[in-house]
């Protein structure tokens, strides 16, 4: 599938040759096995700093595009990156790279844990890790709110609190909440410019 006026580049904007399918697979595989609890920071280090496949500006543009596409960000990123350089097979190579190792490792871990699910030590370890994992997600939330509070951005803060209350406390379904909250939040930010 080719879109008019956007023929695929012969070389990257960084001047390097376009990576092969295998190189793209390996690049995204490396991002996956190094990324703990979210892979985006590592994706930048790998694609921009280590391999020079994207300029810093291109990375920001691609990330912004991923924000507007629903779904898992890194998979969308892999699709956009691979598809742009080598079409559908390129997109598949990148997606396979990013998903293969976590899916195999995750299912293996799950099967092993089921085998030993009766052992008190295993159950205890899972309880301890669950508590930490919950803390990691909360910590991510706090880290994201911190700069909003520091620059006294009360508008963004209120939007976040309202979204959290509707979803986390009242447990309303996501679709109607987003349909109301996202346009409202964008409108308020637009008016403030």
């Amino acid at each position: 599938m080719e879109i008019a006026g956007t023929s695929r580049p012969a070389t990257l904007a960084t001047g390097l040759p376009v990576p092969t399918h295998w190189q793209m697979f390996c690049g995204f595989f490396a991002i996956a096995i190094n990324g703990f609890g979210g892979v985006m920071p590592f994706a930048r280090r790998m694609l921009v700093e280590k391999r020079n496949w994207l300029t810093p500006e291109e990375f920001v543009d691609a990330l912004a595009m991923c924000q507007f596409v629903p779904g898992p960000n890194i998979v969308n990123f892999a699709v956009a990156f691979g598809g742009r350089l080598r079409g559908i097979t390129g997109a598949l190579a990148c997606v396979a790279g990013i998903t293969l190792s976590p899916i195999v490792l995750g299912i293996a871990t799950y099967k092993v844990l089921l085998e030993f699910a009766e052992a008190p030590a295993v159950l205890g370890a899972l309880r301890g890790m669950s508590a930490v994992a919950a803390g990691l997600v909360t910590g991510l939330g706090v880290k994201l709110i911190d700069p909003v509070l520091r620059r006294k951005d009360w508008l963004s803060f209120s939007c976040a609190v309202v979204a959290a209350a509707l979803i986390g406390v009242l447990r309303l379904p996501l679709l109607p909440v987003l349909a109301a909250a996202v346009p409202t939040a964008i409108y308020l930010q637009w008016r403030r410019r």
Binding site: I3, T6, I33, N34, G35, G37, E58, F68, P70, G71, P72, V75, N76, V79, A80, F81, R84, A91, V95, T99, S101, P102, I103, G106, I107, Y110, L123, G124, L126, R127, G128, M129, S130, A133, G135, L136, T138, G139, L140, V142, K143, L144, D146, V148, S156, F157, C159, A163, A164, A165, G168, R171, P173, V182, I186, Y187, L188, Q189, W190, R192
Partner: protein, 173 residues
Amino acid sequence: MNVLIDLGLLFGKIGLVAVGGVIALIPEIQRDVVEVHGWMDVHTFATLFTIAQAVPGPNLLLVTLIGWYMDGAMGAFVATTALVLPPAILAYVLGQTWQRLRGKSWLKPVQAGLNAVTIGLIASAGILLIRASAVSPVAIILSVGTVVVLMRTKLHPMWLLAGGAALGAIGLV
């Protein structure tokens, strides 16, 4: 068969309403899987999420594991594909033109609006997960301690997970 259709419809829907990545989706996934469909209890959900966090890679592994829990390899395949494929088609098309977003006047307010909502979703994900894993006072202390360590130091999350596992394995949690 019905399970596969349910998984496909559920995660197809979730993939299309997703903003801000999989972590922001946790409240909705938990709501659908635990409260609406009753497929598992909240502790099983928290355990599957923990495995997804403990394995390096994208957080979408949570959805793969929910699919596996429900219906083995086919369930895992259907749930993951349903989540990933529709947005991926959109990303493929938009990916050809990503640089056209640069410098658009509407970009900043739209990003700021989406970010604010995403932050709220991630914060509620954290609170719901703390509640789901709060099986003892020590568990709550571990969760809160993790937040503090994360804010104050650059310690790799892997060490925190390993520490939690060790404390739990010797029967303290």
